[in-house]
Symmetry: C2
Amino acid sequence: MEPLKIRLDVNGMFTEFVGNDGISLTDIDRLGGKIKAATQAMEQKRTKMAWRDLPHNQANIVRDILAYAAEMRPKIKALVVLGIGGSALGPIAVQQAIHSPFYNLNEKLRGDNPQLFVADNIDPTTIADLLDMVDLRETLFSVVSKSGSTSETMAQFMIIKDILERKLGRDAARQHIVCTTDAENGNLIKIAKEEGYKTFYIPSGVGGRFSQLCPVGLLPAAFCSIDIEKMLAGAAYMDELCQNEDIWQNPAYMYAILHYIAMKKGKNISVMMPYADSLKYISDWYAQLWAESLGKKYDDNGNVVNVGQTPVKALGVTDQHSQVQLYVEGPYDKVMVFVGVDGFARDVPIPKSFEDVPSLGFLGGHSLAALLLAEQAATEYALLKSGRMNMTITLPEVNEFTIGQILYMLEVATAYAGELLNIDAFDQPGVEEGKNATYAYFGRPGYKQKKAEMDAQPKKNPKYIV
Amino acid sequence: MEPLKIRLDVNGMFTEFVGNDGISLTDIDRLGGKIKAATQAMEQKRTKMAWRDLPHNQANIVRDILAYAAEMRPKIKALVVLGIGGSALGPIAVQQAIHSPFYNLNEKLRGDNPQLFVADNIDPTTIADLLDMVDLRETLFSVVSKSGSTSETMAQFMIIKDILERKLGRDAARQHIVCTTDAENGNLIKIAKEEGYKTFYIPSGVGGRFSQLCPVGLLPAAFCSIDIEKMLAGAAYMDELCQNEDIWQNPAYMYAILHYIAMKKGKNISVMMPYADSLKYISDWYAQLWAESLGKKYDDNGNVVNVGQTPVKALGVTDQHSQVQLYVEGPYDKVMVFVGVDGFARDVPIPKSFEDVPSLGFLGGHSLAALLLAEQAATEYALLKSGRMNMTITLPEVNEFTIGQILYMLEVATAYAGELLNIDAFDQPGVEEGKNATYAYFGRPGYKQKKAEMDAQPKKNPKYIV
């Protein structure tokens, strides 16, 4: 049987469909040399992109995760992930894709699975409410930080370790903490070894935003009975497609090339608009991947370039009533990416009623799925008609295999776009300034000079506070 | 006692703080005539902006809402809002601002209040799961559509009316439906009268995205024990401030003027980044308000202008690990709006531990609130240092009075920005094409020509489907 393949339809990017503002085959031909160089670079650098091998080299790790989940699941009612950025966005996206939005709320939908909470912020009210709500004796806290020095996650960890030890005793507390971190470097692995916490590893060469297919994403998914082997199989299948040097057969390369040309044509915004609640948080995950990877000051030759496309998250059909007015009539500054499905797990018929009321009668006899799909097609049509570049990724159905594909495709597309832009898609130097300023505010030793620099800022003008 | 006033700090928009890319007083002076004209227009058109009077003219309506909520609350465990766009975004934003994110999940946090669900999409899986979950006998469905012809909301209504009548009988079903719609026009008011549903009205001149302070927002808030009188009082207080002709004393005008100048300087993106989980959905609400109001093809003289700034939703501190790399290093194409608080309802101390580990020890003895506020200041500093325009709205605390203020301030700012841009901030002609295409796909009588037009599109090229 043919594997269930996701499709990337880029018709709406071309002049034939959107007129003058579109892309022509000549635009692509002109990039010939750049495309060849980027394609070669992807092959040559593959060994340095450890995340590319995650679909292939984790048989033992998957076994370990499944065994640990099987052992722990009967003991817990809630899994709380302490993580931020890539440690949170991937787990949330996959959980929402596979399970109902009412999973935490409804035991019937959840079955024997634990509730899943992802504590990806340090809002004190939220954390306090969460800790009041869960029963510590039946809760497992999963601490995720590659460096072991992520302030937000480590502050949460310090708080929770203290509470667990005070309430359950130090020995029992150990059974309620699992760490996912670097195998050798950083504080968290040291602490985990000293305390005897169960530990999983983030391979070196796998950065936060490329970590969903390593234990960062696999562990919480396994606890919620998401088939992680099937997700990795989907990614492995996509990896095959993404090795095709023919860009017309390689969805990731095509995605990147068309976005790159669009950027050169002034489209500094990348909107992702899924048409399914299950896919809503894929665009949150993508927003980090695309923004943090491609938003860079310097190119590989040290020139100041200040590149990057700003990701925007939308949701169909909901945001037709919020954002589509702007997309259709506003500036020609966007690439739209719809993410659709061929079918839904459940459908709801719309009964025939009010047949004499023109604006209601036509709805009866159809179903919500049919209405949603018609509205997606209609929005695509409206964008085409107003000359707006758009493309559509379609999942034949939403399951672990197709989710593995879309995640992996977008990761490869991001790396390939980095090559086309001639920037480093894997670092994030721009966040250092904010980290250092936080350290300085908190009086961390070694940051006096930074504090002095900050204090030397011009004083705020009270006239400018309205 | 002085009222608890929100503050708008715009220091970070000016050249003194962000260098060459900032705004100078000369930029504002040059706009003198335009500012004067816009200010006059706001005063002259005030009577046409019915939403401006909502803080002042609803004493009877508030009484009716509170009486109805008091009568119904003991009978229900869940309130399900059927609404999309402005009918959903305001209620969600206010609910999240006042109540815990775990409100639906935790009876202790909820007290005697009903669960609140806002069905703002037609994803069939979500709707089916929701209908399975709630007990119809203890659920009230609130149908919100001004025109009574919003396909999504009306399809939901048709489904739910049918189920309620089949399960509870037609008489009992009536007690489970409340409608908020136009007092005279449209199908919903007709149906409501025929069926005898309880009804609240959306005043004419109040469009969806400006409707949070009318029954659209007041009704669900009242059911969840949110103090709607205090929210209206906050809006009324802000209305006073927003009538000041001195732009340096008028936060809404200042907000609009600086954004307008920024747009003219090529900032086509408006990022709103609250630093509190409670304020997260204010940026969703704002995204509709700003996008749909200002994203326009034509100006008031009929010239094609294709204006509009694209709103981006971010959340502090979470998105420091997702978007801030791009904000600091990417293109100079954004205005950042932080929304912060002076304090939180609860705080969590970080215990002193790991004092010998430099990257952890400095955290101990502080609290999560202190860490969050330091990170907000640090991010602001990092943006200033990299020359990025930013401003900050600060709520002294999050309550109904301050939420009323920020909602009203942003509404007035949006209307004023519309005047500066010389466009109609209150229509949305760009969504018609998509609606008509949906009707055509569904074979609605009268849309054959549209269907023919759509069928005449160029055929998709299979080569472009990867």
